[in-house]
Amino acid sequence: MAYRTFAAIDVGSYELAIKIFEISNGNGIKVTDHMRHRIELGTDSYFTGKISNERVDELCRILREFTDVMKSYKVDDYKAYGTSAIRETKNSAILLDQIKQRTGIKIEVISNSEQRFLDYKSVASKGQAFQDIIEKSTAFIDIGGGSIQLSLFDKDSLITTQNIRPGVLRMREELTNVSYRSYQLEGLVEEMVRDRFESFMNMFVGTKKIQNVILVDDYISTVLQNGVIKAGRKGYIAVSDFVDVVDTLKKKKTREIAEELNISEENITLLHLSALMVKYMLKELGAELLWAPGVSICDGMAYEYAEKAGLLTESDKFETHDFERDILACARDINRRYYSIERRTREREVISLTIFDHMKNTQGFSKRDRLLLQLAAILSECGRYISLANVGASAYNIIMATEIIGLSHFEREIVANVVKYMTDNFEYNEILGRTTTLDRDAYLKIAKLTAIIRLSEGIDIDHKGKCDRMKLDDNGDNMVITLETNADMTMELGLFSKYASFFEEVFNIKPVLKQKNSNL
């Protein structure tokens, strides 16, 4: 049986980890080895903006060891992701280059949303257990060193995701500046989380009842997974029991907790802070069941690798959660939040995707490009909430400030630009001048998707759904768009060339709009 060996390296805020996976069509994804080394990179970068030389040395030493480990397993491929600690380092480019030189390992820095998406994927890779839990209204709490990601599921789709600070490591560091007695700690933790959590509750939860909570973290999950707390199924605990456990822990000394929970003493403070944060959030959400599947970002990386390499089994695929649907659901939720008129965006979505599908083979578009176009169409109206005059710029800002889980920062910037230039003049220099992440390929993609979405705008200017059916035909250098409708298309036919000119410029194809009476 053919299988591939994949190594996932996570350069986290307080831990460096490598997981070796064996991935095959027959057996799916199997963990072969898991090594973790505690190193608080976040303590440096969150508070000084730099990672100290000593820690960089340590980081490189361990990464070199990881290289040996990878060699010993003869891994076929690897990915190394750096998250918030590296992200928040001022000189991250230099640091990453140094690491590459010293260890041979290329670390890719991923955005918060990419990171959380991988966490999310790793939970989703639990298959049926995940599907079962999200059948009921569920919140997903992902505690990182720098921040916490809060996500909500509704009818098995992810509808919103928000990032709030502080994370557990950042909280611990902030508390070092506060003089307090142990009995005050819970109050302090609540105070630090409440401000943003309350807003989250008001904006996204309201009176809705959240029954289940999925937790991804490094401490509580460890305890719930190692079975020291007798809580029924491994990783699951009733919220009331969890609260009892936390309340008991409060009265114990560090040493006692370490012994009882089978975790090292150095982790107790972070465990305690995580536990108090989770307790507070569970209480506020009114949840009944907590599930800590004990997964890490590495599992998500393996899942992603397997997916891309086509190594997931049929049953894996069957159980695979539809992540694209989540991304779209999130975008529609943003739309609702900014009072976009759904009818208009739906119409734009349908027409632009019809054009896209017609062109995809000749232009070599990917499935992901289609998703980006679809997102741009959905989010095309959100800028109106801020300004009816500067829709493009406003939409750009909203999109860039809003996390869409599953979408990388890079992709989000493409979507934001497409939405912006749907209405604004396409400025060649402006795009690349404003960004540090986009490259020329991305710029071309923005141009092409903008051209398509602008063209769609010309086909249904007032978004009343005039068109019953649309047919596209290539005729030499022309693309003939035939609309089957008996509606009055005077406006569209008159102004079409204005919307089509950019398309023609980008693709060197002249769109020609024709109307065919649908009654005929």
Binding site: S24, M35, K71, S221
Partner: protein, 726 residues
């Protein structure tokens, strides 16, 4: 009756006295007239080397406590000073017994059986004298370093455990009648100086004399040969008197590992210092010149009660060499050859065999070769990716080390944890560590503050179906030499869950964080003690609820107070507890409330009982575990140890059988009585039908098994003709 507080000191034996009782049991074997004569020599030699180690470590540490003014009592309620007093009395008595055995029992018997040990050089014949003098001149003299002490030459370093000859000498008067300007002592009108020479360790202690023609082999000890030729060493002196002496130094050193950047270098430094440790015991020949003794005592600053007047040759460990003298095979137990393991005949693919099912190894009844072959095969196998192993004590010319080095040279990822802190093997292990590193292995020198005592090997192999991990777990060291003498058990498995755990063990040993959880293994110092307490507690609950409850535990020593207390409490609830403990046992039998439910036996035989096996009845679903740990605080709290379960039902039966046979032993087994003494089964109760010596029975069983297999192989070679039916 109210609940008994089992933590009270009266319910515990002192561990040092219990150890002396153990050495007494070994001495008992040397005194046992049913033993072949040369086996008795071997046992006596073992008692001597045991006692040396006991002094260097245990007595030394008690002295340290007393010197530090520590008065905290042990579990038996004795302060360090009280313990030291009792130990002193007991060891003096013990040494008396050793020499009584040697002088009154063994020497005459040796003589009767054709081996004459000349105790003094004065007993040598003229021709013998000629022989030994020539021997001295040719072989001994060149390696000796005689040292005289005067004001220009300070008292020399007397090395730990070395045998020395001390002498009082006086300068010969020269022609002018003037004496040496410097002198050390003036006694009885003569100026006496102290002189000494170390009996060289590199030359055999036993000197075989030329055959006298009567068929008797005659031997004399090297120190006697030197003593006879002492005047040749101190040419300008008259020899007043010569007596052998030997000292024991405190060998217990502590490393401040936190401040140590290079553990290997620090260890080398500390080992050198061991030669300078405080002298804690002085052995001198009985009748030593008082003046000579005074000098030695003063210079070594040794207390009078730490002086042992020995009525015979010092350092009886030479008897092991005497055991090896050729020509006395009839006076020894027939040597047992470890048998082949049925599943692992020579040349078989070990990985394929393990894949079929788990394999149990029982040494020394079964050969240790497959364990060595496991590593050797892995080192050559192109599919093997990595080999990881822990090494605590290895043999002198270890084939395992050679195989590991070969594996690294063959491009395998080889990680070896060599425990530099393995007491008295530190120097060997430093050598191995350097050699393995040179071969390209990744060597870990151990963990800060902990000794890695577990015995585990992991071979990671890339196979068609994916990565498969082969694991060997054992109760004894990876030492092919001691595996012929120590009884141990091992398990070869490719069980996925155990493989995962083994990987996690090595990740932890390499300094990575502990895993999120364990599948089957329990590790000390973090989880093992709790696991034991949990298992005992479970039996207690079962007994309370009238469910079957029974514990059988076999180990080398039991002295962890929490575990002992748990045993008492379980016994008080009705759990039957059968303990097979070779050495120290701080648990008492007959303790109030335990209703006779605890029985302790100790087996001392030709093989050293070394396996750790634990059986828990678990209300009718028995669980069996084996491991590297004794139930001692040092094992459970300061060492990395592994306890592993036996999961395969067939192997479970085999391990259970090992325990059952040991529990049936009524020949070698000695039972702990409430007063702390041990006694064998009354001979009158041992009949031909029920007589059982566990070690002998295992030898018979494994021989029979191997013979059966051999027969099967032979039968399989017979052609079977087929005939036409009907």
């Amino acid at each position: 009756m109210g609940e008994v507080d089992y933590s009270r000191a009266e319910y515990y034996h002192n561990r040092e006295l219990s150890w002396i009782a153990f050495n007494n049991r070994v001495l008992g074997e040397a005194r046992d007239e049913d033993q072949p004569l040369f086996e008795r020599l071997k046992f006596l030699s073992i008692t001597a080397s045991n006692l040396d180690e006991f002094f260097m470590v245990r007595v030394a540490s008690l002295k340290d406590l007393v010197n530090a003014g520590i008065t905290k009592p042990d579990i038996a309620g004795l302060t360090p000073a009280e313990q030291l007093d009792k130990v002193n009395t007991a060891t003096h008595e013990f040494v008396g017994m050793q020499y009584s055995t040697y002088n009154h029992s063994l020497l005459p018997l040796l003589s009767q059986n054709g081996l004459l040990v000349l105790e003094k050089h004065e007993e040598l014949s003229e021709s013998d004298c000629e022989f030994v003098d020539r021997y001295f001149q040719d072989y001994v003299y060149p390696v000796l370093t005689p040292m005289a002490v005067d004001s220009s030459r300070p008292f020399p370093l007397i090395r730990n455990k070395s045998l020395n000859l001390g002498a009082l000498v006086s300068r010969k008067t020269n022609d002018s009648g003037r004496k040496h300007l410097f002198h050390k002592k003036v006694a009885q009108g003569r100026e006496l100086e102290f002189a000494t020479v170390q009996v060289p360790g590199g030359i055999p202690r036993i000197v075989v004399l030329p055959n006298a023609g009567d068929g008797t082999k005659r031997v004399i000890l090297l120190e006697q040969v030197i003593e006879r030729n002492m005047d040749k060493l101190f040419l300008n002196y008259d020899i007043e008197c010569v007596f052998p002496f030997r000292i024991m130094r405190n060998a217990d050193f502590s490393l401040s590992e936190d401040d140590t950047e290079d553990l290997l270098k620090e260890m080398e430094k500390q080992l050198k210092k061991r030669q300078w440790g405080q002298a804690i015991r002085l052995e001198v020949e009985d009748g030593i010149d008082k003046r000579l003794l005074d000098i030695i005592q003063k210079e070594l600053a040794i207390d009078g009660r730490d002086i042992y007047n020995i009525p015979g040759p010092l350092d009886l460990t030479f008897l092991m060499k005497m055991y090896a003298l050729p020509g006395f095979e009839a006076l020894k137990t027939e040597q047992y050859t470890p048998q082949q393991i049925p599943e692992l005949p020579t040349g078989v693919d070990i990985f394929e065999q393990i894949k079929k099912h788990d394999i149990l190894l029982h040494h020394p009844y079964q050969t240790f070769t497959p364990v060595v072959d496991f590593i050797k095969q892995a080192s050559r196998d192109k599919n093997v990716l990595a080999i990881k192993q822990t090494l605590y004590r290895v043999s002198g010319n270890s084939p395992i080390i050679a195989a590991l080095a070969q594996a690294a040279e063959n491009g395998k990822q080889v990680s070896v944890l060599v425990e530099l802190k393995a007491r008295f093997d530190e120097e060997n292990n430093i050598g191995w560590a350097k050699m393995l590193e040179k071969a390209g292995c990744h060597v870990i020198y151990g963990l800060v503050g902990l000794k890695t005592h577990c015995k585990i090997t992991l071979v990671v192999r890339r196979e068609e179906e994916g990565i498969r991990r082969y694991v060997h777990l054992g109760t004894g060291n990876y030492n092919d030499a001691t595996a012929k003498l120590y009884t141990d058990l091992g398990l070869l498995t490719c069980d996925e869950a155990i493989g995962e755990d083994a990987t996690a063990v090595f990740n932890m040993l390499s300094g990575y964080s502990e895993p999120l959880g364990w599948n089957h293994l329990a590790l000390a110092p973090l989880w093992l003690k709790d696991k034991f307490l949990y298992l005992i507690e479970r039996e207690k609950d079962n007994a309370k609820n009238k469910r079957p409850a029974h514990i059988v535990a076999k180990m080398n020593s039991l002295c962890d107070p929490d575990i002992i207390k748990a045993f008492y409490e379980a016994a008080a609830e009705g759990v039957k507890i059968e303990l097979i403990i070779r050495g120290i046992c701080c648990l008492k039998t007959g303790v109030e409330g335990t209703n006779g439910n605890i029985e302790v036996r100790s087996i001392v035989g030709n093989f050293l009982e070394h396996a750790r096996i634990f059986y828990f009845e678990n209300a009718g679903s028995p669980e069996l575990y084996m491991g590297s740990a004794d139930m001692m605080p040092r094992n459970l709290e300061r060492r990395v140890e592994i306890l592993f379960p036996i999961l395969n039902p067939e192997l479970k039966e085999k391990v259970r059988h090992v325990l059952e046979v040991q529990l049936r032993d009524n020949i070698k087994a000695q039972f702990l009585k409430p007063d702390g003494t041990y006694a064998k089964t009354d001979k009158e109760l041992v009949t031909k039908e029920n007589a059982c010596s566990a070690q002998e029975q295992f030898c018979r069983e494994y021989r029979a098994e191997a013979a059966m297999q051999e027969k099967e192989i032979r039968q399989a070679r017979v052609f079977k003709p087929e005939y036409k039916q009907g």
